[in-house]
């Protein structure tokens, strides 16, 4: 399919340009932050000489242009440097953090889909029944609640009062003790899944509704297919196109958006690394996390687009994304 290939090339080219631009924007944005990375290294009582030493160490005494070129050169070698504060190399640290954030996100994602898919379809098909409406109402509630508040409430009920799960933290040796690591993620996963499924239900429902109102479904039924059969054979396939693009976006934004949940549950994930990095002006860590996430987001978007194109024949020879 040559069309697909030329599309692929164009997308890849855009991808590359986006990455470079993103890196530059990142650099500038970070340098706008008031404060100085050297501050994280000094404590009350430090004299001006010590503060200067700290600035030399992190390189914040260099002119901006030099800092920028150093950054771009090391980036080109795929070297993200080492944290100013902990002195640990950024890339392995990100790898370590991903062992928390990726399972957290994926489990939440799977759970959210498992909840949202059936409920969303039911809400669309049975919108005239009380339970169809109930689903819609509950999903309204779900998108209106701040995620940290859900986290706090879940901890209060399920960890503190019922003692079912740990309230926060991650086992020191991580996945070396899979049961403990899994337990630590239960409440955070549920927290994210609640918010995520609430918005997914609405997407699934509206996608299903569009299918239900479509001509081909009516045609299929007129040709003798039963309603469930028509829905499954034609409906799901068509409804899945917009839903897939949304899923891609949701997955990407959850990976990054776990910041708040990781804070509520004191999890050593990517989000908490980023948050701490911003607080401490630890540029290498912040740049590293944001750069890797940008890559991730771009590739996920890329694959979601590709998947859509493969599923929906109508899109194969068109370019551009699909409306959310």
């Amino acid at each position: 399919m040559p069309v697909i290939f030329s599309y692929l090339f164009r997308r890849l080219a855009i991808l590359l340009v986006s990455i470079v631009v993103a890196a530059a924007i990142l650099f500038v944005l970070l340098r706008l932050l008031p404060g100085d990375p050297a501050n994280a290294l000094v404590s009350v009582g430090a004299d001006p000489e010590q503060i200067e030493a700290a600035r030399r160490q992190v390189g914040s005494d260099l002119p901006l242009s030099e800092q920028f070129f150093r950054f771009i050169f090391s980036l080109a070698r795929f070297d993200l440097g080492a944290s100013f504060v902990s002195h640990t190399p950024v890339l392995p640290e990100i790898g370590k953090r991903l062992t928390v954030t990726v399972p957290l996100t994926l489990m939440a994602f799977v759970l959210a889909i498992a909840i949202a898919l059936p409920l969303g379809i039911v809400a669309a098909v049975k919108s005239n029944r009380w339970y169809g409406s109930l689903i819609s109402v509950v999903s309204q509630l779900g998108i209106a609640v701040p995620v940290f508040w859900i986290g706090i409430l879940l901890v209060t009920v399920f960890a503190v009062n019922l003692r079912l799960f740990p309230s926060g933290g991650f086992p020191p040796r991580g996945w070396a003790r899979p049961d403990a690591a899994f337990d630590a993620l239960v409440l955070p996963v549920i927290t994210i899944a609640i918010v995520m499924s609430a918005s997914l239900i609405r997407y699934v429902r509206s996608a299903t509704q569009d299918v239900l109102g479509s001509d081909y479904l009516r045609t299929a039924r007129a040709l003798g297919a039963s309603f469930p059969e028509a829905l499954i054979r034609h409906g799901i396939r068509n409804a899945s196109v917009p839903v897939i693009s949304i899923l891609g976006m949701e997955l990407a934004s959850t990976l990054l958006g776990a910041v708040v949940v990781e804070r509520v549950f004191s999890l050593p994930g990517l989000g908490s690394m980023l948050l701490l990095g911003i607080e401490q002006r630890d540029y290498p860590n912040v740049q590293g996390v944001l750069f890797i996430s940008t890559l991730l987001v771009l590739f996920l978007g890329f694959f979601a687009d590709l998947a859509q194109r493969l599923i929906d024949p109508r899109l194969r020879d068109r370019s551009g994304g699909v409306a959310r």
């Binding site: 340009v17 932050l33 919108s127 509206s206 976006m249 987001v297």
Partner: protein, 285 residues
């Protein structure tokens, strides 16, 4: 994003829809009234230490008091005003920037459009909260307006993308080509054809952004980056009450309920607006 319980629209369905619209209007109206009222009156001076530390709810202090002995109910009422300012400010800023960029992309050359679209895709992939966090962090000293600007700018990408798609859809219509051939300037096209066609959908989307902005501000506050004291934003009240959740649970619940009620109200209203604005949906059987 959201949508309605449309489609197999029976009479009862339509009734339910008007019911959700009514509920939404009621909730939002309530918050507007309360928010306006706080300009002239609250049960207690919100800054005054009018009671003891962490009093339980009573007829005097309907939601109890906080650690400083301030009346929480008054603070939550002021929270309505602040939330409305946050939401409105964020969608005005996000809307202005977003619509401008979206229209620009829609009219731009293919390459520029592609670049803009890709850029928007990246921005959108980053959670609003994260962008807002970076923007707040990079501004000198936080204020309510820093938070509002940050959220507005962060949201503008979504508006821009939607505007671009909607505008392109309109632009691809035959009558636009006809109109342009007949000499209408592109400004004219925007004013005559595009805006009237896309504003209903945009409005619904902006209404939803309103709710998201309120939630985003609460999350920023939770992370210590939101509206600084003495702004009684609900997020800050929740954050301050978190440490006392066992001795004074109401403080960690009441502001949350206020927040959820406003956001639900806005979302229901948005759903209702969509039905009004989208006749094809309404009439579809």
């Amino acid at each position: 994003m959201s949508d309605t319980v449309t489609i197999i629209a029976s009479t009862s369905g339509r009734k339910r829809r008007s019911l959700t619209f009514t509920i939404g209007a009621f909730l939002v109206g309530l918050h507007i009234i309360v928010g306006l009222m706080t300009l002239i009156w609250t049960p207690f001076d919100p800054g005054a230490m009018s009671g003891e530390r962490l009093e339980a709810a009573s007829l005097l202090h309907l939601a109890g008091t906080d650690r400083l002995g301030r009346d929480l109910f008054s603070l939550i009422m002021i929270g309505s005003r602040i939330a409305l300012i946050v939401g409105t400010g964020a969608i005005v800023i996000g809307g202005l920037i977003g619509i401008t960029i979206g229209l620009l992309a829609a009219f731009a050359s293919k390459t520029l459009d592609d670049v803009l679209a890709a850029g928007l895709d990246i921005l959108i992939a980053f959670p609003t909260l994260l962008l807002a966090m970076l923007i707040v962090a990079s501004s000198d000293g936080s204020s309510l307006w820093t938070a509002i600007f940050a959220i507005g700018i962060a949201n503008s990408a979504i508006v821009a993308r939607l505007t671009r798609i909607l505008a392109k859809r309109v632009l691809s219509m035959d009558y636009i080509t006809a109109s342009r051939i007949s000499g209408t300037s592109w400004m004219g096209v925007v004013a005559i054809h595009i805006l009237p066609n896309i504003w209903p959908t945009l409005l619904v989307n902006l209404a939803l952004q309103f709710g998201l902005a309120v939630i985003a501000e609460a999350s920023l506050s939770y992370l210590g980056l939101g509206a600084p004291p003495p702004n009684a934003s609900w997020g800050r009240l929740l954050q301050e009450a978190q440490g006392t959740v066992y001795t004074a649970p109401l403080g960690a619940i009441a502001p949350g309920i206020a927040l959820v009620s406003l956001v639900i109200g806005i979302n229901l209203l948005a759903d209702g607006l969509r039905d009004l604005a989208d006749p094809t949906r309404r009439s579809r059987k």
